[in-house]
Structures are given as structure tokens and as C-alpha cells.
């Protein structure tokens, strides 16, 4: 091989590696990305059982039922729609009725209920997941305060705690 050929071979090798990476990324996106929905959207969208989605909203007051063992059922609501959710495992510390929550999982074909395999609630007494907050704001259920001094309760954590504050439960 001449030097030029060698160089071409190296460049081709590099390019093909990048190509593999791009294909891999595209494939992974098609496989493992979960879309975010609120209960009200589900009426409009047609989601097949087994498709992984993220479901967010408020945990309806009085809906949390501890079932047998570690299975818990509750209702996620956004004021217009309600979705029953079951989850097996330990809920995050800050999971409470009336609090915002994001669950990830899929609808069950038989029961038509949502079976979550992870439940997220943030470690902050005022936590509202961003997606949920945005939507509630849009629908006027909730108004965002102006960044005044009353923000006291927002600036409490930092990134220094990079892995600091979080509360998720994954099965």
C-alpha cells in the first residue's frame, strides 16, 4: 500500500466508525425513547398497549391504595383526565397525594390500566416536574410566580450536588 492508500484507509475506517455510531444512535432513538403524555392527551392520542410512555400529572387525592405486598395503585390526574396506575416497588420518599409525579411504563392490554416501572418525584417540597408544570401553567391551573424574593424555596440545591437531590424509584 502506498502512503496515500494508507491514509485513505484510515480515513475510511474513521468515517465508517462515525457512520456506525450515527446508525446506532438512530436505532436507539427508535427503540428506547419514551414520549411524555398527560392524562388529557391520552384521549386524543392512540397509544397501543405495550408502547413505553411517560405519564405525568398530579396524584389524585385519596386515590393511593396500597395493595398486596409492594404493589401500589393510584390515579394520575390533570384536572380533565384520570388514569389508573399500578406500580410495584418502593415509591420515592416524596410521593404524596396532591403532588406532581412522572411515571414511566406502558398500558396493559388486558386491564387497560397503566403499569409503571418507574416513578419519579423530586426531592423538594415544592416539586413539580417540569413537563407537568408547563402543562398545568398552559391550562391555567397553576400560575408561575414572578422571580421575587419569595423564591426562597427554589434556590436550595445546586449542581454541586450534581447527584444530589433526586427521588426516583425504579423497579
Amino acid at each position: 500500500m502506498t502512503r496515500k492508500q494508507k491514509r485513505l484507509a484510515v480515513i475510511a475506517g474513521g468515517m465508517s466508525f462515525i457512520l456506525v455510531a450515527v446508525l446506532l444512535v438512530m436505532f436507539a432513538f427508535s427503540q428506547s425513547v419514551a414520549y411524555f403524555f398527560m392524562p388529557a392527551d391520552l384521549a386524543k392520542a392512540d397509544i397501543k398497549p405495550g408502547t413505553r410512555i411517560r405519564l405525568g400529572g398530579l396524584v389524585a387525592e385519596g386515590s393511593v391504595k396500597r395493595g398486596q405486598g409492594s404493589t401500589v395503585s393510584f390515579t394520575v390526574t390533570d384536572g380533565t383526565g384520570n388514569v389508573p396506575v399500578t406500580y410495584t416497588g418502593i415509591l420515592p420518599d416524596l410521593f404524596r397525594e396532591g403532588q406532581g409525579v412522572v411515571t414511566e411504563g406502558a398500558f396493559d392490554a388486558a386491564s387497560h390500566g397503566f403499569v409503571a416501572d418507574s416513578v419519579l418525584a423530586k426531592h423538594d417540597e415544592n416539586y413539580m416536574p417540569k413537563e407537568v408544570a408547563d402543562r398545568l401553567k398552559k391550562e391555567g391551573v397553576w400560575e408561575d410566580g414572578k422571580g421575587s424574593k419569595g423564591q426562597a424555596n427554589q434556590g436550595q440545591t445546586n449542581q454541586g450536588q450534581n447527584t444530589g437531590a433526586k427521588g426516583t424509584a425504579t423497579r
Binding site: L58, E61, T77, G79, E97, G98, Q99, G100, E125, N126, Y127, M128, A133, L136, E139, G140, V141, W142, E143, D144, G145, K146, S148, G150, Q151, A152, N153, Q154
Partner: protein
């Protein structure tokens, strides 16, 4: 004043240090690439070591030596060329002016806009040592004292009603219980405990509360406050006759123009008794219309509402002064909603959300109570 002197000194020091390089005699620009040459010399030395240890073969070493040598020559050559340029002495008028003016000007302008030069430091210890009339500080001081001496009954006794007035009901209950445990029961403490329990149950006289009031009544049969609550408890339990007996006892024992007579008479009436008509019972009191209306509209809820109302108003007042109390806001919104005062509830919700913009608890509460937030239909 001291502050300004220190700030001025700081500014002057900074400016002076920054001026220093200009004040020094300008030394010749150093041989620019001496460092570079040293690096390449070291690389050559390393090459020799590697060669000696047999880590690389002779041919490779020669190539590398040639390469490093080229770099070395280039660096050394350029360095000499650079050195031939004679050091020039320069005037630094503009630069020194900038260095002298920048710290005081930027410092002062920005600091005056941002700082609070008049506000002294306020370490908590020092403030606690000299609390003055600040109730919150006095409470904090008492709390610290009690954390160290949890058996100081008098302290608990003092703190309990303050807690109650500031709607820290959990703390109030604990304080009353501690005071009773250490100093023994007395009518005031027992009635206070009872009232705390009633308040934390939204006006319901629970078993616990009734027990406290009954014990207080036993110790001091003439205390109308305890007796009233005992009566109220009977009334809420639907035992009208027993309730009426209690209320009538109060009415008999009290002077006819006592401020509580109107309320007591309402209760007697509600529990099927006839009011002992005194001299202008109802009119003698300040502003009965609201209570009257409430009583007329909804007899069973009336006095509970009136009582809650008073508490709620005092809570609202407190929150206005110290708005940073999420629990308080939640309680206030809920109370107004329970009282059926929707405009006030919404107003409280608005103020609460302003304070705690991301409180899920308040939003959830609003949903639950069917409240709209500031002009936006749900």
C-alpha cells in the same frame, strides 16, 4: 463610617498593587522562547535515556533526534531574533489612569447599587443575647433554652400560648403537654391544650380535647371557657340535652353582659332551650350580624364557623406579616374554602402561590376545592 474607611483602604490597596508593575523599572522583555528551548533539550535527554535502556532502536532514535533537533533550532533561532529587538521604554499614562480609576469607580458605583452599607452583621448568637422586643427571636431563644433544659416546665408554659397564637399548633400541643407533664395540670394549661386540639382539628372537639376540658372543668368549675367547649363537644356529638345543660350552667354563672353570652344563648337556643332574656343581650355586643346570619343560615355549622373564622382571620393577619409559611397558606386556603368564602380563599391561594410558586400542595388543593387561580377559568 468604619466600613467606609475599610472599603476605601481595600480599594487603595488593590489600585496600588495593580500599579506596581508600571512603577517598577521596565526590565527587558525576557528571551521569549527560552522555556521552549528547555522543553526540547529535555526531550533530547529523554531520548538518550530511552536509547540507553533499549526502549527504542537506533534507527527510531535517530529519526526522533532529527525531529526534535529541528524544533530546537527553530525555537532557539526565533528566540535570538526576538532578543535583538531592544527593549523600549514606554509611557503608560492611559494604562495607569485606567488601573487607578477602575477600582474606585466600578467598585463604588456597583456597590452603591447592590450593597447595604448601613446594615450591620447580625450573627444569631449576638441577636439572641440581646433580643429586644422581637417575638420571633424571643421564641427562638426560649426554644434553645428548652432544647437544653427540656424539663423547664415554666418555659413550656410560657411558650405554649405564643405557639398557639402563631398557629404553630403542633408545637403548641407539645408545649402544653410538656408543661402539664412537668408542672401538673391546671385549668389554664388544660383549656389551652384543649383549644389547641380543637384548632388543629378544624373546630371539632375530639375525644382528647374533651377529656382535657372536662379535667379543667373539674379543677375549676366556674371557668366558662372549658365548660363551653365541653358543651360544644356534646352538641357536635348530637347530645343536645347534655349540651344545653352545660350552656345553661354558663349562662347562669355569668353576668348577663359578659361578652360570651350572645354565643352561649345561641347554643342554648340551638339545643332546644329558651334563652334567658337579659338586658339587650344581643345588641350589647359589638358586631353580631355575621354570626347571626351564619347561625340563621346553618344552625349546626354556625358557631363552629364563627370560631374558626376568628382563628382564620388571625392566621391571615399573621401570614401577611410573615408570608413564608407554606403550611400556613395551605391551612388558610383550606379554611376559607371550608367556610365557603370563595373570594377570600382565592385571594389567599393567589398570595400563597406568589410566595411558593411551585407548590404542588397549593395547586392540588385548588383543584380539590374547585378554586380558580387569578382570573383564569380552570
Amino acid at each position: 463610617m468604619v466600613l467606609w474607611i475599610i472599603l476605601a483602604a481595600l480599594t487603595a490597596a488593590v489600585a496600588a498593587i495593580l500599579i506596581l508593575p508600571f512603577a517598577r523599572a521596565t526590565k527587558a522583555a525576557s528571551a521569549d522562547r527560552a522555556g521552549e528551548v528547555a522543553v526540547y533539550r529535555d526531550q533530547l535527554a529523554e531520548l538518550d535515556r530511552d536509547r540507553a535502556q533499549g526502549l527504542i532502536n537506533a534507527e527510531e532514535a535517530e529519526y526522533a533526534r532529527a525531529e526534535i533537533g529541528r524544533r530546537l533550532l527553530a525555537a532557539a533561532g526565533a528566540g535570538e531574533a526576538g532578543e535583538t529587538a531592544a527593549p523600549k521604554t514606554r509611557k503608560h499614562g492611559l494604562a495607569t489612569a485606567a488601573v487607578t480609576l477602575m477600582p474606585p469607580v466600578v467598585g463604588l458605583c456597583l456597590y452603591l447599587a447592590l450593597g447595604n452599607p448601613g446594615l450591620p452583621d447580625q450573627p444569631l448568637e449576638a441577636r439572641l443575647a440581646n433580643p429586644g422586643n422581637n417575638v420571633a427571636l424571643l421564641v427562638a431563644k426560649a426554644e434553645r433554652h428548652l432544647a437544653e433544659n427540656p424539663n423547664d416546665g415554666a418555659g413550656w408554659d410560657l411558650l405554649a400560648p405564643i405557639y398557639f397564637r402563631s398557629m404553630r399548633l403542633g408545637d403548641a400541643e407539645l408545649a402544653y403537654r410538656n408543661a402539664i407533664r412537668i408542672l401538673g395540670p391546671n385549668p389554664v394549661r388544660l383549656a389551652g391544650l384543649g383549644e389547641t386540639l380543637v384548632a388543629s382539628n378544624d373546630g371539632i372537639v375530639t375525644e382528647d380535647a374533651r377529656a382535657a376540658f372536662e379535667q379543667a372543668m373539674k379543677l375549676d368549675p366556674d371557668n366558662p371557657r372549658s365548660r363551653f367547649y365541653v358543651g360544644l363537644g356534646f352538641e357536635q356529638a348530637g347530645r343536645a340535652a347534655e349540651a344545653r345543660a352545660q350552656f345553661e350552667t354558663i349562662a347562669k354563672a355569668s353576668p348577663p353582659d359578659a361578652p360570651w353570652m350572645q354565643l352561649v344563648n345561641q347554643h342554648i337556643a340551638r339545643n332546644g332551650g329558651t334563652v334567658v332574656s337579659g338586658k339587650g343581650t344581643a345588641q350589647a355586643l359589638g358586631n353580631p350580624s355575621q354570626a347571626d346570619m351564619a347561625a340563621a343560615e346553618n344552625m349546626s355549622q354556625g358557631d363552629r364557623q364563627a370560631m374558626v373564622r376568628g382563628m382564620v382571620d388571625s392566621l391571615a393577619e399573621r401570614l401577611k406579616q410573615d408570608p413564608n409559611n407554606l403550611e400556613g397558606w395551605v391551612r388558610l386556603v383550606r379554611s376559607y374554602a371550608v367556610l365557603g368564602d370563595k373570594p377570600k380563599a382565592e385571594e389567599a391561594l393567589k398570595s400563597g402561590l406568589k410566595q411558593f410558586p411551585s407548590s404542588g400542595e397549593l395547586v392540588a388543593l385548588a383543584n380539590e376545592m374547585g378554586l380558580a387561580v387569578e382570573g383564569v377559568a380552570q
